[in-house]
Amino acid sequence: MRVLVVEDSSRLQRTLGTALRKSGYAVDLAGDGDEALWLAESHDYDVIIMDIMLPKRDGLAVLGQLRAHGKTTHVLLLTARDTVPDRVRGLRAGADDYLVKPFALEELLARVDSLCRRAYGTKQAVITVSDLEIDTLGRHVRRCHKTVDLTAREYLLLEYLARRLGQVVTRSEIEEHIYDGQVDPMSNVVDSAICSLRKKLGEYGEAPLIHTRRGLGYVLDEVSATAATS
């Protein structure tokens, strides 16, 4: 899942970036409204965490612009403004959630997770595919009741594929949602990650769940595709 953090306090921006990356998100950071608008319009983020009082262009203006341009990315407003009119104004401007500073980090992570789930139209925290169980809250993966150890990136990739269950996911979509701006788009990180993930999921000899659709991308599904399976 890819998250954009827009915060003018450089300390808070750095700490939030660290916390989200540690929680398995791909994170981009912005320090002002113009940069936030540019990033949000040029990438397909799952969630945007945004302060309201920002240099150059305030958070509500950025939000208004995004909604006006048809962007439906879930936005969580993270601000020091705590009055009811402020919250109402923020939510009416198109925000999906509102959190007041100072906040508990766990609460922020839970809200971001909730917004991610909503982004893929599900409210269930556990995704089951055949004998594979993915606990999105605890970030645990089990296959045939045995724990599968995954790196943060591998987990992120599996969760993204699971949220798009049965749908073909292109490489660029994976890059967009799993990798932040620091990754070279020309590299084969996606293929490497898929390969690594398949290896870990199949190490107990179970049937393959990740299938390749040649020329299109990958799909996570219980039923094996007859053609073009690698």
């Binding site: 306090s9 450089s10 300390r11 660290t18 916390a19 540690k22 150059k56």
Partner: protein, 468 residues
Amino acid sequence: MISIRRQLTRELIGAFFILLGGALAALYFAARDEIIEQFDDALRAKALAISSLTMPHDGEIRLDASDQFFRSFSKQRPLDFYEIWSPDNQVLARSESLSEANLSLPDKSLTRPRIWNLQLPDNRPGRALALRFSPEEGEHQELFPNLQLTLMVASDSEPLDEALQELLGIGCIAGVLLAGATGWLVSRVLKRGLQPLKDLADQAARINADSLTSRFPAAGLPAELQPIAGRLNELLARLEISFERERRFSADVAHELRTPLAELRTLMECALKWPEAREPATDREVLAIAAQMQAMVASLLALVRGEEQQLVAHLETVDLTKLTEDCWRPFAGRAVERTLMIIWEVATVQTLADPALLRSILGNLFENAVDYASAGGEIRIRIEGDARGVKLRVRNSTENLSMEDVAKMFDRFWRKEEARSGGKHFGLGLSLAKMFSQAMGWSLNAELDEQRRLEFVLSGPVSQPSAG
């Protein structure tokens, strides 16, 4: 508690009662005198009639009158009485109504007619008239030359007393009715007249800290209350501004502390949740946040103390030029980093100031100039002085300031949005600088010229050279 309405009611009713009592008493006595006068006139008429009907006849004195005339003097209906005496006090004539009794004349030497109250022979109250007269001319008048007879006429005065009693009763009833009506009327008139005052008081009683936006409608008020409503409205407007400022200040304090608190909390939660990711820089960050919050609290305390008039400036002669150069030194390096051109136009000037406060003001002005001057721009520091005073001007080029920004620049927590980054400026420095300058009797103002250059002008007194 003194009530204007009760006091006015009491005093007006009291005054009206005195006037009413006086008027009724005067009316009663005038009417009484008139009735008595009429009674006396009747007595005089009877006496005149008797005296004119009295004449000598055959060596005697006789009254020649009709029975009709003497009806009230008769024994059967004894309402009036008379008796005529000769100069030697011999009874010459008397009315039948006297029967066996006699009228008694209290003063025998009757020099002029006299009227008095008396008790009639039948013990009823009466009123009498006595006079001396000469009988009318008759056939044998020569027998009584210069005859002076004494006549006393008395009448029953019971009808007179009854009339006077009735008059007094009517007066008392009228007085009571008028007094009641007056009390009711005065109360009603005062209630109606003082209603605008009551409305004003009721409206004032409803005002509290949450309704300071309400105003008294001066247009519908009587002329006497309009100045009061006007002053109250002015007071409310000042209170509203003051409350709003305090409310905004409290909200600003809370708001400004939220971000460093969020930084602190997130930093520590991250360090606890992922201890392996904890960097040595984390501790330095925590220290920096604590220092930032401490600086903010110190600035807030300085502001509060300044507002509570606890700030006392110790004025002394200061070399403004030297102090300005000293204060600039810490910012020179940062100015070079930002490739700012510094222009000095400095005259040697002595002034009267508190050196500590002046250092704080200059430090703030220089820090703002160095941080907010457009990159590669210029800062001009100018000191000028004459007999009227000294002026220190700090001018820097800016990029996006407007006249509205300059008007708000000295408000607490005001910052141009771009200034938020970094957590270095709280928006309290200029408020403090202005307060410090006022504490020294100086003034600090900001101006924006047509070339969008912001200039702070600090004005103070010139130090008078000591004699000798």
